[in-house]
């Protein structure tokens, strides 16, 4: 710091890098190039997905009509009423089971379990998430079909599906109750409420949006699954005759007819439409998850502000 300060001073220009310095220039140029190069990986991933969405849309949309949704598949025509309602039943029942068990277990883990028990519970839930769907399917077949001397049934499919969905609900619920600001907890317990009252009246309203987004997430995952259902819910092209008979479902429709020869082309078209309906359903649920999560973030921000 010897030269006097003043405009036009060369030493300042050197200090601020206005006089080109090869070393700095190289570092900054490298940084800039990587900043342009690495985001290209998005193109590599998003381009195929856009192709997929565009293709399925252009195959399914022109022929999709109200009758597609309201008639059963028959011979050389018909619609997707049976698989659509089948998926709704399966996911509905599975959500009821996984939702109840997952919320109870998640809230228990966040609030009552000892730290060690909570750690084990979360670890096992994460392991269940990582269990291949086909393995869960085999389990479902043995436990709910073979050993009960039953056949493929809707309820076996729904229960198997709920096992697959359960850890998602559990994890989100646990995180939601765990992220309730401690001040709320202290205020409530300090005012003399029991932990149950605290959970119901204080924690649940705060955690609810996140729990709801966990339910949507689990529904989206369940709706698209195929492997756990093939050996439990079986397959039927007509609507299920009740909970104790095989059922039709969208993912199974695709699975069964995607490679039909061209003289059965209408079945192939229907399977495209089934894929389209699945994607729409799953994307709607996922967007709902993100919207709910966003609202939740805003709400929480209010607590910490």
């Amino acid at each position: 710091m010897t030269a006097a300060a003043g405009a036009g001073d060369l030493s300042v220009d050197i200090e601020l890098g206005l006089v080109p310095d090869r070393r700095v220039h190289r570092r900054v140029a490298w940084d800039r190039w990587l900043g342009r190069l690495l985001p290209l990986a998005f193109v590599a991933v998003l381009f195929p997905i856009i192709d997929l969405l565009y293709w399925i849309g252009s195959e399914a949309l022109p022929t999709l009509s109200w009758t597609t949704l309201t008639t059963n598949p028959v011979g050389f025509g018909g619609g997707l009423y049976a698989p659509l309602t089948g998926t709704v039943y399966l996911v509905g029942i599975a959500t009821a089971i996984a939702g109840t068990l997952g919320i109870v277990a998640g809230a228990y883990t966040a609030e009552f379990a000892s730290p060690r028990a909570a750690l084990i519970g979360r670890l096992l839930a994460n392991l269940l998430t990582g269990t291949p769907a086909i393995v869960v399917g085999y389990f479902g077949y043995f436990a709910l079909v073979l050993y009960t001397h039953s056949t493929f049934t809707l309820w076996a499919g729904a229960i198997t599906l709920s096992i697959f969905m359960l850890p998602y609900v559990y994890r989100v619920t646990d995180a939601a109750f765990g992220s309730v600001p401690p001040s709320q907890r202290e205020a409530s317990l300090g005012a003399g409420s029991t932990r149950g009252q605290y959970l119901r009246r204080v924690a649940l309203p705060i955690a609810f949006p996140q729990v709801l987004s966990g339910l949507f997430l689990a529904m989206a995952i369940g709706a698209g699954e195929t492997a756990p259902l093939l050996f439990t819910a079986g397959w039927s092209i007509t609507p299920a005759q009740g909970l104790s008979s095989p059922t039709s479902y969208l993912s199974g429709f695709i699975w069964n007819y995607f490679d039909q020869p061209s003289n059965l082309g209408h079945l192939v078209i229907l399977s495209f439409q089934a894929a389209f309906l699945l994607i729409v359903g799953v994307l709607v649920l996922n967007v709902a998850v993100q919207l709910v999560a966003e609202r939740y973030r805003r709400r929480l921000r209010g607590f910490f502000a």
């Binding site: 293709w55 109870v104 009552f112 379990a113 000892s114 839930a125 392991l127 989100v172 300090g190």
Partner: protein, 344 residues
């Protein structure tokens, strides 16, 4: 929620900061292990383990359904030959399925890790925050596209493209590389290892991206700012501050991604060609352990031992997924996984 009864004795309560409960009076008698409260607590404690109980029952039921004694070491041999009439000549060797699983999951994972490292770094370091937020949601959405939809797309659209365009070009220009030399009959249908790897890569990227992204984001902001304040570029901060912090997450993301890839069934079955043989090139039809499970189930009742052999494969697959997930979760503990959402 049976709260009244499950409220634990004070001594064993988790250390909750500032919990409003009154402190234990001095000289209190130790909790009676047979008190109503203790018994209730013991009875209700498995409530938090419900997912774990299901996992345990999966393990137990599959173990009970298996017949380990039926197959010896030949189980890992190359010949898979169920015989409907004479079970004594049937052989169940899963070597080619193991090879198929290893090749598809292994290659898909290498590609997915490269892509998701680039994507995670872009999201956390390089992209401006609105773009980063939108693209984060978008990559999370990708995780939601059902497996069977990827499968039908691969079978109907990609397979013809691979057989007519991509495979001939690859074998023409890269034929000197091992794995790329093939006769045109081999890629006639377009289905095979390469297509399965392609589909699997796209399916695994959302998970590995989410894991890497969250581990990069978990680094304290002050660390990043201090690096920048010392005159480092964003890349230099990434390499010298963020990556050393997140280093341990990379092998974990590899493991969790591998667990996902090796268990993927439906989409792979639809595009892999389902041949039981030693692959001669990347264009060969092949099978994986998972596709074996879904592909041969229907015939399991015509062959005496087949169902048992399949259960063994299911158990092996379960064991692999448990081990890789257990190792992978050492880094991505429960706290970190909660942010990963559908990707996990």
């Amino acid at each position: 929620m049976e709260d009244q009864g499950t409220r634990p004795a004070l001594g064993e309560e988790p250390p909750v900061v500032g919990s409003g409960n009154a402190p234990a009076p001095p000289g209190r008698v130790p909790p009676n292990p047979f008190s109503r409260r203790s018994i209730l607590r013991a009875l209700t404690s498995p409530v938090g383990w419900i997912p774990g109980i299901f996992l345990a029952s999966i393990v137990v039921v599959l173990m009970l359904s298996s017949h380990f004694q039926n197959f010896g070491l030949g189980f890992f041999g190359p010949v898979w030959n169920p015989n409907p009439t004479d079970p004594s000549v049937a052989t169940y060797g899963i070597l080619y399925f193991v090879i198929g699983s290893a090749l598809t999951a292994g290659f898909a994972l290498v590609l997915a890790m490269l892509l998701s490292l680039a994507i995670a770094i872009s999201l956390v370091v390089f992209l401006p925050s609105p773009a980063s937020r939108i693209l984060t949601s978008l990559t999370d959405l990708l995780a939601g596209i059902p497996s069977v939809v990827y499968g039908i797309w691969g079978y109907v659209i990609l397979a013809p493209y691979f057989s007519k365009q991509l495979d001939p070009a690859l074998s023409h220009y890269l034929g000197w590389l091992p794995g790329f030399a093939a006769s045109p009959t081999e890629y006639a249908g377009g289905t095979g290892l390469l297509l399965a790897i392609f589909i699997l890569t796209i399916m695994v990227v959302p998970l590995t991206t989410a894991l890497l992204r969250e581990s990069l984001r978990a680094i304290p902001r002050e660390q990043v700012e201090s690096g920048l304040a010392l005159g480092a570029t964003r890349w230099e901060v990434l390499r010298r501050v963020q990556l050393p912090w997140a280093r341990r997450s990379i092998p974990s993301a590899v493991l969790l991604g591998f667990g996902r890839a090796v268990g993927e069934t439906v989409a792979v079955f639809m595009v892999i060609g389902n041949e039981v043989k030693l692959p001669t090139s990347l264009f060969s039809g092949s099978s994986t352990m998972a596709t074996l499970l879904v592909g041969q189930f229907d015939s399991a009742f015509e062959y005496p031992d087949l169902l048992h052999a399949l259960v063994e494969v299911a158990l092996l697959l379960l064991a692999i997924s448990l081990v890789v997930n257990l190792l992978g979760l050492r880094y991505f503990g429960s706290g970190r996984m909660a942010h990963v959402g559908a990707g996990a």
